[in-house]
């Protein structure tokens, strides 16, 4: 861990010196989404509905990815999925 900077060393106005990619915000969820790949039609509704951008469409791989580091477990994806392919399950540890 690097030394924390003094007020004279940091940029004004809270300008971020680091990207938010490294600041995981999804570690407190109660439920996590689990996808049934057989039911999923890749309609991408979940990608559009996710309020945190935690579901990504990877066209080069032809698949979607859940980033659990940012998922808060709100369940909107499961609720919106027309194919009922997403289930919210209690996180274990």
């Amino acid at each position: 861990m690097s030394r924390e900077k003094t007020w004279k060393e940091i940029s004004p106005a809270g300008v971020s010196s680091k990207s938010s990619i490294g600041f995981l915000t999804g570690d407190w969820k109660t439920y996590a989404p689990i996808r049934d790949l057989e039911k999923c039609t890749l309609c991408l509704q979940c990608v559009m509905f996710c309020p945190d951008g935690a579901i990504r469409w990877r066209p080069e791989l032809g698949k979607i990815e859940f980033d659990l580091g940012f998922c808060k477990g709100c369940g909107i994806c499961a609720n919106e999925c027309p194919a009922k392919a997403i289930k919210m399950v209690l996180e274990q540890e």
Partner: protein, 412 residues
């Protein structure tokens, strides 16, 4: 003060609000976002006329509330734009949350406040409760005495706010109706002199998350995040930076005042405080805003009668010019602070607290009493202000005050 030969000024008949709008027009503002509220409305009304007539290149945004108005100004200012708005009373109160975001994001917005009482009961008239309630919002607070100073201060405010050592938003307070709606002769500078005086907005370089050192502004080519989140390990450091910016502003406000004097021939004390017949005064009033005009006449009258009285007008309320106040008031024996707002349950108004705090560390404490006056636009007559001085002279004679907190013009 000498006026440079090339500076030819025009005399215009302007109300305080119109003077503010005219100054904003000349200041080459990029974005104005505002919502109307009495007694400020004329400012944005007048400015929207300039926009409609094509007299300015400003983007004028009509928002659905004052909260949105300041949020819009904040966003515009963050892109490096020169930004202006105006408000008063409940409108300023609705902005409260965004005031802190604007100062925390170090956006140099200039906002005119036509000072007005707060509800309830509903009152549209002038007092300083609205901006005094925003004392700790991290904005620079300037208060003016007349329409001329309102014009001059708006121009100065942009130069103060945008300085890279300051980068803080500025409130310019003018007393509602007394100044906002009263016509005065106002000397205005030519457009090019105003633009030259303020200069271009400069931006300091900052380090972004991409590791680039780029100018401090929102720019798609060099993305950065301003004021997103600071946890307990960093938030405090950003607040300390704001305090330093306030200290820098103290020095800059004085410099801008002198520089403006060279251009216009007008100055307001040292920019922070204005002393009137204070040098040998035994008793003095300290006031903020337009009442200083009436008090100066009262001081002249009492001086003619042989009383050693004076006035200190606090022009810059934030940052508080502690050293200047101590030095100016060092030999005054009795001080009467004039407060046009109340701090309920706080024993006196905001200005009283500040002045008492300022003079705590001096060797010989003067007697300091508070006079709360003019709430909800109640007129303060020369006779009433004379009574304040008579009261101060009595305290000087008998050596102590009967009452520390006094109400002027209130039916007891």
């Amino acid at each position: 003060m000498e006026i440079t030969k090339m500076t030819r000024q025009e005399t215009m008949a302007l109300s305080g609000d119109e003077a503010v709008a005219y100054a904003a027009k000349q200041s080459d503002v990029d974005v104005v976002a505002a919502y109307p509220i009495t007694p400020q409305t004329i400012i944005v009304e007048k400015f929207s006329e300039y926009v409609a007539n094509g007299e300015v290149q400003t983007e004028f945004v009509c928002t659905e509330s004052e909260h949105s108005a300041l949020a819009t100004c904040l966003a515009a200012s963050a892109t490096g734009a020169r930004t202006f708005t105006a408000s008063a009373s409940a409108g300023l109160a609705l902005m409260h949350e965004m005031l802190f975001v604007a100062s925390g994001c170090r956006t140099p917005i200039v906002m005119a406040i036509a000072n007005r009482a707060l509800s309830a009961p509903l009152n549209i008239h002038g007092d300083q409760s609205d901006s005094m309630a925003e004392r700790d919002s991290g904005w620079i607070h300037l208060y003016v005495e007349n329409a001329q100073e309102a014009y001059d201060s708006i121009i100065q405010a942009f130069k103060i706010a945008e300085d890279t050592n300051v980068m803080l938003p500025v409130i310019v307070g003018l007393d509602g109706f007394t100044l906002s709606h009263t016509l005065e002769n106002v000397e205005v500078l030519p457009d090019d002199i105003v633009i030259g005086f303020i200069g271009k907005r400069e931006l300091p370089n900052v380090l972004t998350h991409e590791g680039k050192t780029v100018p401090f502004k929102l720019d798609p080519d060099n993305p950065m995040t301003m004021g997103p989140i600071a946890l307990p390990n960093y938030y405090f450091e950003f607040k300390r930076q704001q305090e330093e910016a306030m200290k820098n502003a103290l020095k800059l406000i004085k410099e801008v005042n002198s520089e403006y004097a060279r251009v216009s021939g007008r100055s307001y004390g040292d920019g922070l405080i204005e002393c009137y017949r204070l040098e040998d005064a035994d008793v003095a009033a300290v006031c903020v805003g337009s009442t200083a005009g009436t008090i100066k006449a009262t001081v002249d009258e009492l001086r003619q009668e042989g009383f050693k009285v004076g006035l200190l007008r606090l022009r810059t309320f934030r940052p508080l010019p502690i050293e200047e106040l101590r030095s100016a008031l060092r030999s005054v024996k009795v001080i009467g602070v004039m407060d046009k707002s109340m701090s309920f349950g706080g024993e006196g108004g905001a200005v009283f607290h500040e002045i008492r705090h300022t003079l705590y560390d001096v060797e010989k404490h003067p007697q300091i009493v508070d006079y709360i006056y003019g709430l909800g636009g109640r007129d303060s007559s020369p006779r009433e202000l004379r009574r304040v001085y008579e009261d101060l002279l009595t305290i000087l004679r008998v050596g102590h005050a009967k009452k520390t907190i006094n109400y002027i013009g209130l039916r007891e």
